[in-house]
Symmetry: C2
């Protein structure tokens, strides 16, 4: 192999990213330290070039997305992130320059989220680049937030704004050409670089009855919560918080509602609890909005401003 080779990349680019338990990557395994009274939470996500990120995407953004989609899962579980393992399978076109920028991107994210590299594996592939990160975090025993737990009559909340991820994907594909260029760039940014709601997740421990991050789409992820609980949900379309970009996109094309409630990649949190739950979350740095209620009927109903109902089933959503 030209360039640094596998061992050179490990020594020069990956070993400097390590911390406690990684043995400077001298071994094929690392040691995870627990904490008395805490549980270790594990989550893992894979991203594939051309599927989860664009070929030609800046390597720093690929690194950010890889870690952030995993951090979002930890946020949804009320977990404090600690460290991660990294597996990459790279085609030969991902040269030392690409990998160096990717590792610089990892370093930036590590500093933002206070995490370090514990270990991993690097292989070659004749196919598209494929990255897996497995994230580890700590949560006080018995306080983990789960998808199961929503109760009848509880309020459903979301963080931030909804639909920007899916609209950002459309925008990146050139399908929101009528929209202002700055708004387009902001939406694309939301798709590329999710914002894991770690602080909010920590604040939800002991307060929310259930939580998930929105990766499959708002209605689908609410459906995951209610299905486990054997319950349903009624969501008011008018209450769903939208960004300025999303509102402008909707003004151009009202059909985009389907993308907003059905698309994925928002990485906001959806959670349930008492109606005054939001009052205790004001210092988490993110807006929280009540968008509906947990209902007895086991399906997710989306009620429009004019009283129309869009109904959701397991395969997605459809007009009823």
């Amino acid at each position: 192999m030209l360039g640094k080779g596998e061992f050179g990349r490990i020594r020069d680019l990956l070993a400097p990213l390590t911390g406690r338990g990684a043995f400077d990557l001298e071994d094929d395994a690392g040691v995870l330290s627990g904490k008395p009274g805490h549980e270790i939470v594990v989550t893992t996500d894979t991203i594939v070039a051309g599927v989860h990120f664009f070929n030609g995407e800046p390597p720093e953004d690929v690194a950010a997305k890889l870690l952030r989609v995993n951090l979002s899962d930890l946020a949804a579980m009320g977990t404090n992130p600690i460290c991660y393992t990294l597996n990459w399978s790279l085609p030969s076109s991902y040269n030392d320059e690409w990998v160096t920028s990717f590792c610089a991107g990892l370093k930036v994210q590590q500093e933002i989220f206070g995490i370090h590299l514990l270990g991993g594996d690097s292989t070659s592939t004749p196919g598209p680049a494929c990255f897996t990160a497995t994230l580890f975090g700590l949560v006080p025993r018995g306080q983990i937030l789960r998808r199961a737990g929503s109760k009848l009559g509880e309020t459903i909340f979301v963080s931030g704004t909804i639909g920007d991820g899916a609209l950002g994907l459309l925008a990146a594909q050139g399908m929101l050409a009528d929209l202002d260029k700055v708004l387009v760039q902001n939406l694309i940014r939301r798709y590329r670089i999710p914002e894991p709601r770690i602080r909010l997740g920590l604040a939800l421990r002991g307060r929310a009855s259930a939580a998930a991050d929105i990766s499959d789409g708002l209605l689908a992820d609410i459906g995951h919560l209610t299905e486990i609980a054997g319950l349903g949900a009624e969501i008011k379309m008018s209450e769903i918080p939208l960004s300025y970009g999303a509102r402008n996109a909707l003004a151009e094309n009202s059909e985009l509602w389907q993308v907003i409630v059905g698309g994925g990649d928002d990485y906001e949190l959806v959670f349930t609890g008492e109606s005054d739950l939001a009052d205790s979350l004001f210092n988490t740095g993110v807006n929280v909005t009540a968008i509906g209620k947990i209902t007895a009927e086991p399906r997710v109903r989306l009620v429009g401003a004019n009283g129309t109902v869009m109904q959701v089933n397991k395969e997605g959503y459809c007009h009823s």
Copy 2:
């Protein structure tokens, strides 16, 4: 997607493989339970179709290889395996039938090694199938076996027989055509289904000064041990334990020595310690053979029967 779809596969094929901490895969994360006085060891390996296993390989064998290469890393660290996470990126040609057989293969390995599934991620890919497993195990605090620790004058041991993995790869590629068909099948089997030396690894705790599994090749992996220690090694070619198949292959072509000491995929353990170390390992179910000594000169020397020396450097090995 035709067939079960992602959620159907998770519910029908993966959820039945789970155990403690996996929440029946209802959540995007699992909980790893520690044990008082123990550390959690983490290792991860990725295998790619066409690189680490053959396209068309039986799915049960792919499952076995995926878990066993990781279990071999835990064995080398003296670690008791507990559970694992699984990420797969599959092209559409890997249909429900393939995945069902793959999961049946996982189940078989889980029962052999006493492990369960904790969580994972499934994605699609336009490229070759790519699997990542991340294995977790427990080791009493401070007793982990590491690559670092070999001391001057210590004896170097290996388990089992050496070279069968690399010869098996050659055999599978049809390059050992003169060899008896049964021997060819045995060698291919060694390449496809490694035998992680878990019991031996547990027995080495507190006894061996350093250990590694042989995945890069005997001389390369000895080089990793000695380089970390700032020392070298002298290996006697005549002492390297060979299988009946390897001896027959060598009889046909003496150049295969280079494959035996340079090739990878044996997944035997190489370790260092006092010269009588092997005496305490007789009940581990695997032969242990002394093949050389740790030396002061920082390089790995392979001494042939006739006194010739093959010298090894970081890039591999070469005649000196």
